[in-house]
Amino acid sequence: MSRRLSFYIHIPYCIKRCGYCDFNTYTPAELQGPDLESVSKNYISAVLKEIELAQKTVGAAEVPSIFFGGGTPSLMPAAELARVIQEIRDRFELSPDIEITIEVNPDSVSLDFLEKMRQAGANRISMGMQSAVPHVLKVLDRTHNPENVSTAVEKARKAGFEHVSVDLIYGAPGESVSDWQQSVTSALQLPIDHISAYALIIEKGTKLAAQISRGEVQMPPDEETAEKYLIADSAFEAAGFNWYELSNWSKPGGQCRHNIAYWNGSMWWGVGPGAHSYFDNRRWWNVKHPATYQQKINAGESPVQSEEILSEENLADEYLMLQIRRREGIPHRNLKDSQVSRAAEYVDSGHLDQAEWTAQKLVLTQQGRLIADRIVRDLVL
C-alpha cells in the first residue's frame, strides 16, 4: 500500500471580506486584476504547478481527500476547479472512496456550478451559514439572506451531493441565547448530515476587532457563550448529529475525513498562498500573497516561506492537543503515568467521561470540552 496524502486547495478570493475574517483572502479590488476569470485562470495554473511539485517531493501516493477552501472556491469557474481534480488524478492515485469537499457561499453558488463540480468528482459541500438571524449576520458582515441557505442546500442536494455541511458561528456581539437557538433550529431543518459550530474568535486586525476596541459593539460574556455551546451540543445530539470533534457534529457516515486527517497526524499538502503542509515530521507554509506565490511558482522557485521540523516533544504535544478534541479520545497507554494521574482529577470534577475513563480512555464531557485548552495546558510536560 502506498503512502496517503490529502490535498487542501486554497482559493484566496472573496467578493467581499467579512468583518470577523482574518483568513488569507483577497477581494478582486485588492488584487487589481483585469477580471475574476483571468485571475482564476492564472491562479489555477500556478496551483497545478504546485501539485506537480508535490508529486516530485512525495512520489507515489494515494489521495483519500481533497478540500477546496478559502476564500470562496465557488467564485471560481467550475471548469478551473475540475482542472485541479484532474491534475491530482493524473499525478496520484485517488482512493476509490475519496472525499472531495467544496466550500461554497450560499449567495453566489449556482445549480450549474454544483452540477459541474459533482461531475468532476466532488461529493461534499460545506456551506458558510453562520447564523439564521439577520442582525447577527449583519454584525458578522455577511452578505447573504438567511433564506439563501436553504435554497443553496436544496441545489446541492439536487445536484447529487449526498454530504452537505453547514458552518455556524455563535457568540457574536448582539447575539442573544434565543437568537442562537433559532440558528440551531434552522440548521437542523436542513437536509444535511454535518454541522460545524464555532464560537466566534476575535482576530487581531479585523474590522470586528476594531469595532470592539472602539466600544461600538460588545462581546457577550464567556458564561453565555459556554451556555450556547451546551445548547447546540444537546440539540444536535438529540437530532442524531453526534459530536466527533469539539466543534463538529455529524450523522453516521457524515464525518469529514479531510479534517480528521489534520487531527490524526495524517499527511496533507496545502496548495496555494499561505497554505500549510505536513509531510514526514516536517511542516511548512507558503508565502502569503497570491501575487508573490504565483511569481515564485512561475519562476520555478519554491513557494515555501518557512518550515519546521517537529521533534518528538512537538509531536507528543500536538497529539494531545488535537486528539483530546475528538470523541475517540486518548487511550491511557498513549499518555505518561503522570499525565494519567493528573487527568484523574478531571474525572472527579466532571470534565472527563467516567465510563470511558474506566475503559482506559480519556474522553471529554460537555463541560470538559468547554475548557479543553486548559486541560491540555495542565497535562503537557
Binding site: A199, E223, A226, Y229, L246, H276, D317, S349
Partner: protein, 622 residues
C-alpha cells in the same frame, strides 16, 4: 608646614602612645564625611596631590568589592601640630553609618578616644547621627563638634552651632567651622584633634590585647582584620589567639593603612592597623572579639563582645527552583564577609525550597538581597519580614518563632515580641502626623525635646514588628522626607498577637501566614483575600480564599470557576500556531506554583508579598 615627610614620621611599632590620637567621624550620609576625609589625606600628604581623586577612601570600597584591594578602614595620618610643633600620628577610623549596625559602630567607637561630630550646617543633625553621638558619649569619647559646608549659601552655622552645643554640652563658639570642599578650617581641625583628644593609655609590657573593630573578606588575602592595640604589642610571624573561640592563628602579615596597606614591624599600644592570618571566614575573626598572643595570653578579654543577634527574619526563595544550589553557594560566600547573616534551609509548600534568613534589621536584609541578586545573578522572592516571637502555650511550653509556620496551633498563653526604643528627629511641623503614625503602630510616647525652635526629637517605644513593615517609608512620605529615624532593641514585651492564615481552597498558603496584632487581623485578612482574588486567575473550579485565625474564618472571597477556555477552530494552519502558544504556556507553567489543585502564577505571589505601600502606590498608578 604641618605635614611630615613620610620617612621622618613616627613609624609603626615605634610610636610613643603619647604621640597617637585615635578618632572617628560621626556624620550622616551626605553631610560631607568623604570630602573631609579626602581633604585630610591631601593636607597630611599621605596621598600625593597628583594621585588625589574625589572620595578616595570610598573608591577603594568599590575596588574591594571587586576583590582588587582591601578597604581602607583606618587610615594612619602623620601630622605636625601647628600648636606645639610636635609630630603626631592620627588614626582615622571609619564607622558604618546605619541603624542596623549599631553594634559595629559601637566597636569602632570603642577603638577611639575621640570623635568628630560632623554636621552639614545647611541641614542640621539627623536621627542616626544623634544616636551615634549618644553612643560615643556613653563610650566616654571626647566629642569635637564640627559644622561642615560653611561655603554653602544656605549655611546657617549660627543656628546649628546652637543645636550642637546643646547636644554636646559646649559653647556655640566651640563648634569648629570647616569646608571639606575648600579646605577652610581643616588644618585647625587636625590641630584640635591633637589638642583635645586624649592619647591612648595601655600597658606596653603587658600581655597583648587588641580589639577587632572590623573584619573583611578579601578574595586574594582571605580575612583582613582591623584592630586597635590596647595593651602590649603584636609582631609579624607571631601566633595569635581569638578570645571568643580560642582559635589560634599565625600572623602572616601585619601593618597599617596609609591609605594603601603597608606591612610593618608590628603594632604597639594605641596603634591601629590590620592583621592577616589566612583564615577565609569572617566568623573566625569577629567584630568585638579580643586578639591576644598564644605564648603570652592575656587573662581577660576587653569588654563589650557580643554575638550578632538577628532581629528580622525572612524567607528567600529562588524564582527558578533550579537556582536553589546557586542560592546556597551565594549565601555561603556572603557569610564569609558578613558574620551577622544567618540562614537555614526551609521548605515552603507554596514557594518550594529556600532559606530562612536572619538579619540585623531591614537595611541589612535589603543589602543582602541586593547583593544576592546583583553579584550572584539570582532572582528571588522574599516573604514578608517578621521578628522573633517567644510563644508560651497553655501547656507551659516555650516556643521561639522565627517563621509564622512555627507558631503553635493550640491555645496560646502569651506571646512576647521584641520592642525598640525609636528616636525620630523632625521639623516641628510634622509632630502631629508622626505621633499619629506611631499610635497606629502601637507606640508609646516616651518624651519629646526641642533641639531648636523648629526641630524636635520624639522618642517612642514601638514593637519591632511594626517597624519592619514599611514604617520607614510611611514616616518619610508623611514628613516629605524630612524626618529621620533611629531605633535600638530594648527587650521584649507581651503583645496581643494572633496568627492569620490565608487558605486557598481550604489549603493554608504558608508564605502568606502572618503574626499580627489582634485588632489588625481582620484588616490583614481582608487585604490579602481581596488582593489574591484579583491576582489569581480563574480555575476550572471555584476557589474560595479565606483568612483564618485558627479555625475561625475572618474574611472570605471567591474566585469563580472559569466557564470556557477553548479555541473553537483547529485546522491545518491553526496547528502550528496553537502548538507554539502551548509551548509558551509550558514555559509560563514553570513559573506557576501549585497550592493544592490551584495554579498560582509566581507574579501573584510576588505582588501579594509586596508591602501594603507598594500595593497602594500600584493602585494609584492605575
Amino acid at each position: 608646614m604641618p605635614a611630615i615627610p613620610l620617612n621622618k614620621a613616627p613609624q609603626p611599632a615605634a610610636t610613643n602612645p603619647e604621640q597617637i590620637r585615635n578618632f572617628c567621624i560621626i556624620a550622616h550620609i551626605d553631610h560631607g564625611k568623604s570630602t573631609l576625609a579626602d581633604r585630610m589625606l591631601g593636607i597630611t600628604e599621605v596621598v600625593e596631590a597628583r594621585n588625589m581623586r574625589a572620595q578616595y577612601l570610598d573608591r577603594m570600597d568599590i575596588e574591594r568589592e571587586r576583590g582588587i584591594t582591601i578597604k581602607s578602614q583606618a587610615v594612619r595620618l602623620p601630622w605636625r601640630s601647628g600648636i606645639d610643633g610636635k609630630d603626631y600620628i592620627l588614626n582615622m577610623i571609619d564607622t558604618p553609618g546605619h541603624v542596623d549596625f549599631t553594634y559595629e559602630v559601637s566597636r569602632s567607637l570603642a577603638a577611639c578616644e575621640g570623635a568628630i561630630l560632623l554636621v552639614d550646617c545647611a541641614q542640621g543633625i539627623e536621627a542616626q547621627t544623634l544616636a551615634n553621638l549618644y553612643l560615643a558619649m556613653e563610650n566616654d569619647l571626647t566629642i569635637i563638634p564640627v559644622l561642615n559646608k560653611i561655603d554653602l549659601p544656605a549655611a546657617q552655622p549660627e543656628k546649628f552651632a546652637l543645636e550642637l552645643s546643646k547636644l554636646v554640652g559646649c559653647k556655640p563658639e566651640d563648634c569648629l567651622k570647616v569646608s571639606g570642599k575648600t579646605g577652610a578650617g581643616v588644618e585647625e581641625l587636625l590641630d584640635q584633634i591633637v589638642a583635645q583628644i586624649p592619647a591612648p593609655k595601655g600597658k606596653p609590657d603587658g600581655p597583648a590585647r587588641a580589639l577587632i573593630f572590623d573584619s573583611v573578606y578579601d578574595t586574594y588575602r582571605g580575612v583582613v582584620t582591623y584592630v586597635r592595640v590596647v595593651d602590649g604589642s603584636l609582631s609579624p610571624r607571631e601566633q595569635i589567639q581569638m578570645f571568643s573561640t580560642g582559635v589560634k592563628h599565625e600572623l602572616l602579615d601585619i601593618g597599617v593603612i596609609s591609605p594603601e596597606p603597608v606591612s610593618s614591624k608590628g603594632l604597639g599600644v594605641g596603634e591601629v592597623g590590620y592583621l592577616i592570618t589566612g583564615v577565609k571566614d569572617v566568623r573566625l575573626s569577629r567584630v568585638g572579639d579580643t586578639v591576644t598572643t598564644f605564648h603570652k595570653p592575656a587573662k581577660d578579654a576587653l569588654s563589650g563582645y557580643k554575638d550578632p543577634k538577628p532581629m528580622v527574619f525572612s524567607g528567600l526563595y529562588p524564582i527558578d527552583g533550579d537556582e536553589y544550589p546557586m542560592l546556597r553557594d551565594a549565601l555561603d560566600k556572603l557569610q564569609l564577609n558578613d558574620a551577622a547573616l544567618v540562614y537555614e534551609p526551609e521548605t515552603s509548600a507554596a514557594l518550594g525550597f529556600g532559606f530562612r534568613c536572619g538579619f540585623l534589621g531591614l537595611l541589612h536584609m535589603e543589602i543582602v538581597r541586593e547583593r544576592l541578586e546583583r553579584e550572584f545573578n539570582l532572582t528571588l522572592i522574599s516573604t514578608a519580614p517578621n521578628v522573633v516571637y517567644s510563644v508560651t502555650t497553655e501547656g507551659g511550653q516555650d516556643i521561639v518563632v522565627t517563621n509564622p509556620s512555627e507558631y503553635p496551633n493550640g491555645k496560646v498563653e502569651k506571646v512576647m515580641e521584641p520592642i525598640v526604643r525609636a528616636t525620630i528627629l523632625s521639623p516641628t511641623d510634622f509632630i502631629g502626623t508622626i505621633m499619629e503614625l506611631c499610635q497606629q503602630r502601637r507606640g508609646t510616647l516616651n518624651g519629646m525635646d526641642y533641639l531648636s525652635e523648629d526641630r524636635v526629637e520624639i522618642r517612642y517605644t514601638l514593637p519591632l514588628a511594626e517597624i519592619v513593615f514599611d514604617f520607614f517609608d510611611q514616616l518619610k512620605s508623611r514628613t516629605k522626607g524630612y524626618a529621620s529615624l533611629d531605633y535600638e532593641p530594648i527587650g521584649e514585651a507581651e503583645g496581643d498577637l494572633v496568627k492569620v492564615d490565608i487558605l486557598l481552597q481550604g489549603e493554608t498558603v504558608d508564605a502568606f501566614s502572618s503574626i499580627v496584632h489582634r485588632e489588625k487581623a481582620y484588616a490583614y485578612g481582608v487585604m490579602m483575600t481581596t488582593k489574591l482574588r484579583e491576582l489569581i486567575p480563574r480555575q476550572q473550579f471555584e476557589v474560595p480564599i479565606q483568612a483564618a485565625i485558627g479555625a475561625k474564618i475572618i474574611a472570605r472571597e471567591n474566585i469563580r470557576a472559569i466557564r470556557k477556555d477553548v479555541l473553537a477552530k483547529c485546522y491545518g494552519g491553526d496547528i502550528t500556531r496553537k502548538r507554539k502558544l502551548l509551548e509558551k504556556q509550558k514555559e509560563g507553567k514553570k513559573r506557576m506554583k501549585m497550592v493544592g489543585r490551584v495554579e498560582v502564577p509566581q507574579e501573584a505571589f510576588i505582588a501579594a508579598l509586596s508591602t501594603n505601600a507598594d500595593a497602594e502606590s500600584g493602585k494609584a498608578k492605575k
